[in-house]
Amino acid sequence: MLRLTGSLSLVFLTLLSSTHAHHSYSFENTAIVRQVELAGSLVQVVTTYAVKALEKDAKAYTIALSSNDKEKTSWLEAKVKGQQQALLVRDHGTEPTNGYHLIDVELPKPLGLNETLNIVLETIQTHAAKPWPASASQNDEQSLLFKTDLFVISPYQTLVQRSKMRSPTPRIVDFMEPKDLEAFTLDTPATKSSATITYGPFNNIPPSADENFLSKTQQPISVQYMYDHPVLEVSSLKRAAEISHWGSNLNIQDEIRLRNGGPELKGHFSRLDHQAQAFYKRPSPHVLPGLSLHLPAGIRNTYFYDIIGNVSTSHLRVAPAPPRSLRSRTPQYSVLDLRPRYPLLGGWNYTFTLGWDSDLSDSAVYDSKSGKYIVKVPVMTLIPGAVVNQAEVTIILPEGATDVDFSLPWPAVSTSSSTVTTYLDTTGRPALTFVYERLTTRHDGDIYVSYKVPLSAHLKKPTAVATAFMGLFVLTLIGRRINLSLHPSKTA
């Protein structure tokens, strides 16, 4: 049996239900600065908390996210400002009734009384920006609407806080001015300077992670901005990685359902207008003519097809695999210029299959000490700026693999094991399936799988094939020697 207990070696983990008993320490936020990088499917939110401990030996700082934010956030990392090491975070579990959500960040070392620390929380929100207006004709521009709450909530008292919304272009169509903020500021609550809108500073905000504050004082804000790139969404991604020791090959195949999440196309697609736009080099911002993907170096037999056959419009530039020693320093990629059969307009879908072979030695090592192979399989191939709504990664191990262990870069929604029977298998190959949801460009980790393959398992396939052929020959041998004719003398 497989041991489905992933040994989690990575620093942060967001356990959905924690069994730990929390202890809340007392802090004061001297300043909170939230910076929102407005974009398409993925919006990056960096919040810096300048905190001051109000009690001795404070070991964990508690961050609050509104349920809205929590729902959208698919990637979260907390660091001490200026440091690379991510801090361990622990989720308090879901509390849907309160309207907020608490997360404990374990501090690198306990803070003394009145000691200060800058904690940087970086989150990626998916599907946070919606196309607005929700439909646009082919020649229209694309504008998105980002909605969030005015105040960064916290279980602690905050002295001053501000929020900055940075748009990718200076063309901000509209933004909402918050009202009734006399208690917190006397200036205009929102100011716009070129591509940035600043809300605040707001002073003396009481502990805001409570229902009263959320219902009375908190208010929504929204920014509508122009976005010059198509909003990409991968509705589903199914990756199958098949390991073959006989062929020394790692085959990776992605079944991708791509969707243009921009404004729905109003009216119809006109090829004439599309060709005119291409001719005058004024492409529509929400039309996706193609993608450029970075595939691993040293791959071969790359294929790109859909349900009705090979897609002839793509180009691949393969980079040779660098020697192992140089690998960490010079990341090399094969570049696939992928052009769907038709340009993807707002709301249009395109499903396709992309796959390639690579040398197993590029991603596997044999640990002679434990007698195990360790194989690295990337969770996904990054599609720049796209969110993957649902991903299913299946790793198919060689036939007869035993003692299977795996380690995930972050926990999966579900993990299961099954048996896959393909090319001339007799007993089938063990396979591991991991399901993920809402992957972002920051989720480019690797899954490590280790397993043993005994020699007898290696020899299983040639033995089976040899036995089958032997049987065939023996049957022929017998068949040739049986004379079924009724009149043996007349046959000649």
């Binding site: 009216g267 119809h268 090829r271 004439l272 349900i307 059969r341 038709y342 249009w348 393909t422 001339l424």
Partner: protein
């Protein structure tokens, strides 16, 4: 006996037979390899894809069979075809092809070889071509010998006439049918030769397979009775013929009736009556033979003979009478068109509109058969020289096959096997004669005349080849010739042999080059994907069809009905997976005529037709931008003709021509033409693409008017990259109950009006 060149001696007969059989097996394997390999141009130049039109349906049906099992396939009712009528697929197809792929698929999957069903379908035809080569070998072996068999196998393996319908991806019934045809004929010949009920039964079983696989089974149904009848008329009735025919007919007919699409046709339609009639005749003759064996009176025999003829005539009259009464269906239109090439054009334009139903042009005989075309008559002549029963068969086949090949392009396919067989017989006889080292014996009185020619040639070549044995005058004079040997024809000298053999070899080499060239250039295009060359010479793929079909598949509701001309019905169903009004299974002429009418009428007339049929999208093929000549404007006259057949008052072909009788699309085009839906959809916004320059239709080489047609009832929904496929969405009825034309005019007019008040308001401020 003198030899032209020494043969190795001292070999045991067992070694010779074993070596010969090994060489035969290796040769057959190589021929199979060549047959398969030469069909793979399409896969190598393009990709593993299903070709053309009908194969897309077969592929779709096979997918149903592979995924849902045979039972579901048998009962499959396809509601998406012939919308809103639907199609009972299980009962209206020849399931042999799909069943074959399904069986192969299941076997491979049972062996844990997960081969994609598409690849099985793509490679089925090349695979069966190897089997065809083997079947042809067996057939020709019965006719002459193994060497002729090998030649025939090689010919059929690479003859373009057969390759044209069996390249990889051409997943059609013919792919397996030619193998079945040849193997049934082989079994029939074998049954006839041996009087074997076993081979008769085998012929029946393979006949059943053929019936299940291809509508062309009627060819076997009539060939074998014809052969039997001619043998009877030649006075060659034997018990072997009786046993062979009876077992074939009984088993084959009963089995063939199990195919739902065939059903009771074998006893009810005229096409099958010949087989039944000959079966009856054979029984009568056999009975009379039995009676005759017990009687000796010459007069009685004569009486019996008269009785036989009389019964035969009565039987025929009965059949005619039953046909007249309607018990037996008369011959179908398709069958008539085989006898009268003008019939289809007059009465069934749908059949005539298919390019492969046109009479064959002479060059295509050379293109498809090259060298074989010249060897063919020689082979038939050689059959006359021997004229055993099987030779009679080949002669009949040659005559019938030649006739049919002349009538219809696609029936070139049934001619090809017999051409290969006869050509192999001819060439093999030639090679036998010239490779045989035995020198003829020259009678003394003929010696002086023969020696004169001979000595000059031998001295010339003899000096070059030292090892050549001495022969000619000196030897023949020493040997005493007998009158018996004198009559034996033969060849003198090695040079005479070499000249002919070298020549034959050269012709065969050219044949191989020709076949390769024709296959790679003419027959290996999938027609779904078009190829052109980039300026740098590299291949550029024009993939408009799949672009548009895939767009339909991914971005329209699954229930949206697509109307197009019937040629694209199967492709839309297979690639776009959307319901279609008409498709390549042209069973309902009226439905096709309805589509033709919609395409050739004005928008106002067409719109109610479209709405009544729930049409959401209309798809047209337009080649004017890149010069793709197989587009809908070029097929348009057939649509008009077919529509005219049903609505002669509303659609008239002459209206689509200019007063001078020209078929034009530029500003001289007739008003009917310009107002037709097809014209409007094809050229909608086409002139704008040229940005004020001269808009040129590259297929018809005509300059299009500056202002193209406008559409009120349809919206352009999608146009592919090279404008080959254009898809239009049918607008819904106007919400205010106006007709769409005035609604459109109003909305355009309203825009102008609205702009005035805004200006005024601004002026006030």
């Amino acid at each position: 006996m003198s030899m032209a060149y020494p043969l190795p001696s001292g070999l045991s007969p067992a070694t010779v037979t074993n070596t010969a059989s090994l060489i035969r097996i290796v040769t057959l394997a190589l021929i199979s390899g060549a047959a398969i390999a030469s069909r793979l141009f399409a896969v190598i130049n393009f990709e593993s894809i299903i070709h053309e039109f009908d194969p897309w349906f077969n592929f779709r049906a096979t997918k149903v069979l592979a995924s849902q099992g045979f039972y579901e396939f048998w009962n499959w009712f396809d509601p998406t075809a012939w919308y809103p009528l639907g199609r009972v697929v299980g009962g209206t197809i020849y399931p042999g092809l799909m069943a074959t792929s399904g069986v192969i698929y299941n076997i491979l999957h049972a062996l844990n070889l997960p081969v994609d069903i598409r690849n099985i379908c793509v490679l089925l035809a090349p695979g069966f071509s190897a089997l065809t080569a083997w079947a042809t070998y067996m057939f020709t072996k019965e006719l002459k010998d193994e060497s002729a068999g090998l030649l025939a196998a090689a010919f059929i393996g690479i003859a373009p006439g057969y390759i044209s319908r069996s390249v990889a991806g051409s997943y059609d019934n013919e792919a397996i049918a030619i193998f079945l045809l040849m193997f049934t004929f082989y079994c029939w010949i074998k049954a006839l030769k041996q009087g074997s009920a076993f081979f008769g039964m085998l012929a029946g079983v393979f006949y059943f397979y053929m019936v299940a696989a291809w509508g062309g089974y009627a060819f076997i149904t009539n060939m074998i009775p014809l052969h039997a009848l001619i043998l009877i008329l030649m006075g060659r009735f034997t018990s072997r013929l009786y046993v062979g025919y009876s077992s074939w007919y009984a088993i084959g007919t009963l089995a063939s009736m199990q195919v739902p699409f065939v059903g009771f046709q074998p006893v009810k339609t005229s096409e099958h009556m010949a087989a039944l009639g000959v079966f009856g005749l054979l029984q009568i003759i056999a009975f009379s033979q039995l009676v005759r064996s017990h009687l000796s009176s010459k007069q009685f025999q004569n009486l019996l003979f008269v009785a036989v003829i009389g019964t035969g005539i009565l039987g025929s009259l009965a059949i005619v009478g039953l046909t007249y009464k309607g018990w037996i269906a008369p011959w179908t239109g398709r069958f008539y068109s085989l006898w009268d090439t003008g019939y289809a054009k007059k009465y069934i334009p749908i059949i005539a509109s298919v390019s492969e139903h046109q009479p064959t042009a002479w060059p295509s005989f050379f293109m498809d058969l090259q060298l074989l075309m010249f060897l063919f008559p020689a082979g038939v002549f050689l059959c006359f020289k021997q004229l055993r029963d099987e030779h009679v068969f080949v002669i009949i086949y040659a005559v019938v096959g030649s006739y049919f090949a002349g009538v219809m392009v696609r029936l070139m396919l049934t001619l090809t096997p017999v051409v290969c067989v006869s050509a192999a017989v001819a060439l093999s006889t030639l090679l036998d004669t010239y490779i045989d080292p035995v020198e003829p014996l020259v009678p003394e009185e003929a010696a002086p005349s023969a020696s004169g020619d001979d000595s000059t040639t031998t001295s010339a070549s003899g000096s070059k080849k030292a090892k050549k044995p001495v022969f000619g005058l000196s030897e023949s004079t020493t040997t005493q010739s007998t009158p018996k040997l004198r009559t034996r024809p033969g060849i003198f000298g090695l040079d005479a042999r070499l000249v002919v053999i070298f020549n034959a070899f050269g012709m065969l080499s050219f044949f191989v080059f020709h076949c390769t060239w024709v296959t790679s250039n003419a027959y290996s295009s999938p027609s779904v994907v078009l190829a052109s060359a980039n300026p740098d010479g590299s291949q550029h793929i024009i993939d408009d069809f799949r672009e548009a079909y895939y767009w339909l598949r991914q971005n329209t509701p699954e229930t949206s009905v697509v109307m197009s001309w019937w040629d694209y019905g199967y492709q839309i169903a297979g690639m776009a997976d959307r319901p279609t009004l008409v498709d390549n299974n042209t069973w309902n002429n009226t439905h096709i005529a309805t589509v033709g009418k919609a395409m050739s009428s004005t928008e106002e007339v067409a719109y109610p037709i479209l709405r009544k049929h729930d049409v959401d999208y209309v798809l047209v093929i337009f080649g004017g931008l890149i010069g793709y000549s197989g587009d809908d404007i070029n097929k348009f006259l057939w649509m008009v003709r077919i529509a005219q057949g049903v609505w002669p008052d509303e659609i008239q072909e002459p209206n689509y021509f200019t007063p001078h009788g020209e078929y034009r699309v530029d500003d001289q085009a007739s008003t009917t033409m310009k107002n037709s839906l097809m014209y409007k959809m094809s050229y909608y916004r086409f002139a704008e693409l040229f940005g004020g320059g001269q808009a040129m239709d590259r297929v018809r080489n005509q300059v299009m008017p500056k202002h193209g047609p406008t559409l009120d009832y349809l919206d352009e929904a999608f146009t592919s990259e090279n404008w080959i496929v254009r898809i239009f969405q049918v607008k819904k009825e106007d919400l205010l109950g106006r007709d769409l034309k005035s609604a459109n005019a109003f909305s355009q007019g309203k825009k102008r009006k609205r702009s005035k008040p805004t200006v005024r308001r601004r002026a006030i401020v």
